[in-house]
């Protein structure tokens, strides 16, 4: 074993052979210990260590970190290697289930492109250095002697929670900086702002299982949403209820959720707010009580009669009336807004118009109820959006930053070109990336610190959406580190010790810090009279700690709604839809070969980018499937192969996020295009979030064609009974009720 890492035996000594020792004892690396090396005694498997039974897998609990949902997982460990992830049945987020991203996390852990040693920029290029040298260079820049203080320092991260978030905040406080930029491309930041203003709670509990009708405006809760597995389990209850729930999806491009809708309603991008007001208009016409609605909003609703809304949105007046009738007749319903509503300059107002429908329909208190809060607000997830990306680019532009630490985010890839981030980053003298992979941000940094993978490191997490029960979820090592690197929590402690020696010197490592934090909890949280070690062991075994949840009440109130007139753009007639994918997500999973080869749920395309267009649009543009389409915005152009289907509005062109990496290892680099790059400037007026769905583009055949690589060449069943469909009437009448 390499000399500079933490030796396994030392590691176990630190852990004191407690319940944790149990977890780690299953993690030997027999293949790497050889006689020739002579560094460790070779022990035959005839005398295996405790808990290692050759040929038998043992499961350990941990937390998935493939997205911010924070699902509980079990990892199967055999002969010291982690082999398979499954959901933790004790988790109230995923109930033992796991999505494809969670399954594929192992390929990040075992990825052949992982950075093995710290990289330091020397003479313009990144060079491998030892951890001593790397941390030495870092101490020079951010240590007590560096004089760095205040807002000249910043953290730039993805969603963080748990004790890492606590330590990260402490580090910022120690330096006296306010700058914690939190960035997620797939987020619900606008929706949170709307909820906070209109309900008094940013993330209330949506009772899908109670709803009889769900009207979803572009909310891809089954796919690229806030907690895909949680909502999928709830969706199953919604669909098997009695009567079966009805899902209507209104959006410009069919998402995974739209693909499962009973009625999929295409809509001109940016007119969802008008559609919602049109529904409100119909509801009032049908006698829904609007006593609490102020006069100005009532006037706004009155101005959105069916014919006007139909002409704005490209839908039909008849359909509007029918949806309103359905919502009124089958109560309670649930109306949701998603990324395609929120991603406009008027995103807040549009989402507010959607939320107003819930109030008119009396859903608040029935299908939208208070989600509650935990007693540990400092550990709850710090959720981000794109506003912080703009603020960060601005700070870099004004040369306000001397040192920035990047963790769990890849802004050089996700930032639209108009932010000019690549150029502006040159204004920051010292950039540190805590990254395992040679992604775009890491390769533009001055120091790259390869942290341990989520399967090798300690940590605690709180999922961003925990509406039923607040839990602190444990992340524990499922095997020994592949490379002798350092854990993120250990690094945070080391940074804190650079500034606040006294406060943190008693913690030898992050593990002892965590154990201390848990055993110091009051008995009410611990649940029963247990010794510290018993409690800690039990918590690790279960993988999570349920903490008391304080459920408040929602305080519904209406807000101003300002929707602009929809305008055609003769020069750029199409809307660009940069859709998120359950799979490659915002591009962070493009280096996982399983997910590259897992077909997109809607188009079934693998390994590349594509542009989805409607057959009528294809005819208008004179392109066929496989033709390259050149899509041009005011920020640039990209070319992608055309995929033609009828699940997209005729005025929209959808290019999925995820591909178009310039770096990021062998599986991701140089594959497809990144639609975020050609997003036009613009942000939501209220929240400052980027208007990701507000870009107008032109499109023209690029004059070349390639075979479009996808699963299955048949789009139809050729008259065979492959997927048979029955009506919900039949289902409600004939479905055997005895089987669960």
């Amino acid at each position: 074993m390499s000399g500079n890492g933490v030796n396994r035996r030392d590691f176990l000594k630190i852990l004191g052979w407690s319940g944790v020792g149990v977890a780690v004892a299953g993690c030997d690396r027999p293949t790497t210990v050889t006689l020739e090396e002579g560094k460790e005694e070779v022990v035959a498997y005839l005398q295996p260590e405790e808990y290692v039974i050759p040929g038998v897998g043992v499961w350990f609990a941990s937390t998935c970190q493939q997205c911010a949902a924070g699902c509980g997982v079990h990892g199967r460990v055999r002969e010291g290697r982690v082999l398979k992830m499954e959901g933790n049945p004790d988790s109230s987020i995923n109930y033992g289930k796991l999505c494809q991203m969670g399954q594929a996390g192992l390929q990040g852990h075992y990825n052949p492109d992982r950075i093995k040693k710290p990289l330091l920029r020397k003479g313009g290029s990144l060079t491998e250095v030892t951890w001593e040298e790397a941390l030495g260079a870092l101490e020079q820049k951010v240590g007590a002697a560096s004089g760095l203080a205040g807002d000249r320092f910043a953290w730039f991260t993805g969603t963080v929670s748990g004790h890492q978030s606590v330590l990260l905040s402490a580090h910022l406080a120690a330096l006296g900086s306010q700058h914690h930029f939190v960035h997620e491309v797939i987020n619900n930041a606008v929706g949170r702002a709307v909820n906070l203003d209109m309900l008094g709670e940013a993330m209330p509990r949506y009772r899908l299982d109670e709803a009889k009708v769900i009207l979803s405006f572009g909310s891809d809760f089954l796919g690229a949403g806030i907690s895909p597995v949680y909502f999928s389990t709830a969706y199953a209850k919604f669909r098997t209820g009695s009567p079966r729930g009805v899902l209507i999806q209104v959006e410009p491009k069919m998402t995974l959720t739209g693909g499962n809708a009973d009625l999929w309603v295409p809509i001109r991008p940016g007119t969802e707010g008008a559609f919602a007001l049109g529904i409100a208009n119909q509801l009032l016409k049908q006698g829904v009580d609007a006593a609490g609605v102020p006069e100005n909003i009532r006037a706004l609703i009155a101005s959105h009669d069916a014919e006007k809304v139909a002409s704005i949105t490209g839908s039909s007046a008849d359909r509007l009336a029918r949806i309103a009738t359905l919502l009124k007749e089958r109560s309670p319903s649930l109306v949701l807004a998603g990324a395609s509503v929120e991603g406009h300059a008027h995103g807040y107002s549009a989402a507010a118009a959607v939320m107003m429908l819930n109030m008119l329909l009396g859903n608040v208190g029935k299908t939208i109820v208070a989600g509650g809060s935990s007693p540990f607000p400092q550990m709850e997830a710090k959720m981000g959006g794109t506003r912080d990306l703009i603020a960060f680019a601005d700070a870099a532009d004004k040369k306000n930053l001397d040192v920035v630490f990047f963790y769990g985010a890849n802004p050089v890839y996700t930032a639209p070109s108009h932010l000019g981030l690549t150029e502006k980053l040159k204004n920051i003298p010292f950039k540190v990336a805590f990254s395992n992979f040679p992604d775009e941000t890491a390769l533009s940094a001055d120091l790259v610190l390869p942290v341990l993978s989520p399967y090798e490191d300690w940590g605690t997490h709180m999922g961003i959406y925990q509406p039923e029960q607040k839990v602190v979820s444990i992340q524990q090592p499922l095997m020994e580190p592949l490379y002798p690197n350092k854990g993120f929590g250990d690094l945070l402690l080391a940074f804190l010790k650079m500034r606040k020696v006294k406060e943190y010197e008693s913690f030898t490592d992050y593990y002892s810090y965590l154990k201390n934090a848990f055993t110091a909890l009051p008995a009410t949280v611990k649940g029963g009279a247990l010794t510290n070690d018993e409690f800690w062991g039990k918590t690790l075994q279960k993988g999570l700690l349920e903490v008391p949840t304080v459920v408040g009440t929602l305080k519904p109130r209406l807000v101003e709604i300002n929707l602009p007139e929809y305008k055609e753009d003769a020069q750029r007639p199409f809307h660009l839809v940069p859709s998120g994918r359950l799979g490659l997500w915002d591009g962070r999973h493009a280096n996982l070969p399983w997910l590259q080869e897992a077909p997109d749920q809607i188009s079934k395309i693998v390994w590349t980018s594509w542009a989805e267009i409607h057959p009528a649009t294809a005819a208008r543009l004179g392109v066929e499937q496989g033709d390259f389409l050149r899509i041009t915005s005011d920020q640039g152009a990209l070319e992608a192969q055309v995929y033609i289907h009828k699940g997209i509005h005729i005025d929209a062109i959808a290019v999925p996020m995820g591909q178009g990496h310039e770096e990021y290892g062998r599986y991701a680099k140089g594959r497809g295009v990144n639609p975020l790059k050609i997003i036009s400037p613009g942000a939501d007026a209220r929240t400052g979030e980027l208007a990701l769905y507000g870009t107008r583009v032109t499109a023209a055949a690029a004059g070349r064609r390639e075979f479009l690589v996808k699963l299955s060449s048949n789009e139809t069943q050729l008259g065979r009974k492959m997927v048979a469909t029955v009506t919900a009437d039949v289902f409600n009448r004939a479905e055997p009720k005895t089987i669960t």
Binding site: N260, W264, L482, E597, T716, Q717, M722
Partner: protein
């Protein structure tokens, strides 16, 4: 071995469909796929890759239909004007089974793409039901979403792949599984030619050479092999997981309990659309579902008392007798 024994053994196996097929199984591992719950998310497929050492073949090989996805999720649009093929009474598979072969394949090819008719994109103001009828809809949009279909080996009880294997590499186990013996397989590919579901996958390459660059190979599941070039492979219903629980049950002198384990795909399914179990165990969820939906193993055509029950088996008219029952997709109209 005498000729009498041979004939006796033979006639034990040779039970026709009208007699309900072979009866002496120890277990009958079976599955139910509820298309009302399936959202087409792909979790099952990737779970299968993780569990069964499936190689990632890369873009160019995938383009040649060499993808090794034992579990795949098909998505049908069922909209005739993308590929102008409309099933009629005379060219459907049902008609073919009844003795009327479908029109030759060339007749299915798209003629000139239909021109966009004047006013096609306008609404005609018709009612919900009229305007959005089911198959063969004239609607210009995908009004009812997609049709997702998880497809794994259907573990047929009269499998078309089994009798054509020249070396008996694929055979039927006493568990009712359609098994593949890798080291007996000579790669004739007759079985995959004969599989009507396209669920057998051939190793055209030695994928281990480039599918698992170090240290990706450390994830490989030691419970099963990595297959080499020239071998046919397919979904096994996670037979290695079945082995473990059967061994454990035998050591504890008990029967395998329902829900004691599940295949990788069933375990991961976020909506629990997939159910797995032993159909011989009358208390298993699988057996209950098959019974409740009045789907019987054996016949090539189901005679249900209640015709509205959703259970069906894919292409069962070919008399393959699959072990996977699908429950029809549901849409509100």
């Amino acid at each position: 071995m005498s000729i009498t024994n041979l004939i006796n053994d033979w006639s034990r196996y040779r039970k026709g469909a009208e007699e309900g097929g072979f009866h002496e199984y120890e277990h009958q591992w079976a599955m139910v796929v509820d298309l009302n719950k399936c959202i087409g998310c792909n979790a099952c497929s990737v779970a299968c890759y993780a569990e069964n050492n499936l190689p990632v073949v890369g873009e160019t090989r995938f383009a040649k239909n060499q993808g090794m996805h034992w579990m795949r999720v098909e998505r049908f649009w069922d909209e005739p004007d993308l590929q102008p093929y409309v099933a009629t009474a005379s060219n459907s598979l049902d008609a073919w089974i009844e003795g009327n072969p479908p029109a030759p394949r060339s007749a299915l090819k798209p003629s000139n793409p239909a021109p966009i008719a004047e006013g096609m994109l306008e609404r005609d103001g018709k009612g919900f039901n009229e305007q959005f009828g089911f198959h063969g809809t004239k609607s210009e949009y995908q009004d009812f979403g997609g049709s997702f279909l998880p497809m794994m080996c259907q573990q047929c009880h009269s499998a078309t792949c089994e009798p054509v294997c020249p070396v008996a590499a694929t055979y039927h186990t006493p568990d009712g599984l359609n098994a593949q013996v890798y080291n007996r397989c000579i790669g004739s590919r007759y079985c995959s030619n004969n599989c009507p579901y396209r669920l057998r996958f051939f190793n055209f390459w030695s994928y281990y050479e480039d599918a698992w660059p170090e240290p990706l190979h450390m994830q490989l599941n030691p419970d099963l092999t990595v297959r080499d070039k020239g071998v046919m492979e397919k979904c096994t219903f996670c037979v290695h997981r079945i082995r473990v629980v059967k061994d454990e049950a035998r050591m504890e002198n008990r029967k395998v309990k329902d829900g004691e384990f599940a295949t990788a795909c069933v375990q991961s399914c976020p909506t629990s659309a997939l159910v797995f179990g032993d159909k011989m165990d009358p208390d298993s969820q699988v057996a209950k579902l098959w019974n409740a939906h009045q789907v019987k193993q054996g016949p090539y055509k189901q005679t249900k008392e209640n015709k509205e029950l959703r259970g069906y088996r894919i292409l069962e008219g070919l008399n393959t007798d699959p072990s996977v029952m699908y429950l029809e997709r549901v849409r509100e109209v």
